[in-house]
Symmetry: C2
């Protein structure tokens, strides 16, 4: 997975998912995460995703979508719903999810 | 630093900063990062911050602000400007920064 998502002309949508993993070492987690990244890519309106996780289990994943309909469709994809359910029941001790409209952006460093 | 930022009633603003660090091991970096987290807290309109970094140097930091004026003020704080400059010149091989209006949010898992 590339580190950075593309920067299409705003506005577009960001889903900011911050999650603290339970310390259970479940090997099913990373397989499911990989599967969800692959599945998200195939959805209409998908722009990209940026994701990182520290060694203490705090992860932030931001997925980007062209519009609100696209992210609502993704939320309702059946395999993704199963992953959401497992996340609630098994993998995360806490999470927050925010839907935000990206109004502008820039990147850097300048001149590289 | 707590893992999760508060969830005030939307709308509010998110600044999504994704950055790949250069592999230079500069010890000044984490001292500056800590200083910036402390300084941000003191700014008007600050809500909170969520930040994580993987061992390969990809970090995502999302700071939350009550309104656009607050985040523009923070961008212009002089010590923060110095940190931004060092980030461009020394610390990051690439970064993106997105300004987004949070329209709604939720947290979980339900029932815990």
């Amino acid at each position: 997975m590339p580190d950075f998502a593309p920067l299409p002309d705003p506005p577009y949508y960001a889903v900011i998912f911050t999650a603290l993993r339970r310390d259970d070492g479940d090997p099913g987690y990373s397989a499911m995460a990989d599967k969800m990244f692959d599945l998200a890519k195939q959805q209409p309106g998908y722009i990209g995703v940026e994701s990182t996780c520290s060694k203490d289990g705090l992860g932030i994943t931001v997925s980007y979508w062209t519009d609100e309909a696209a992210l609502m469709n993704w939320k309702a994809v059946s395999e993704h719903m199963l992953a959401q359910q497992l996340g609630r029941k098994r993998w995360y001790s806490h999470y927050t999810l925010r839907i935000a409209k990206v109004e502008r952006h820039y990147d850097g460093p300048e001149g590289r």
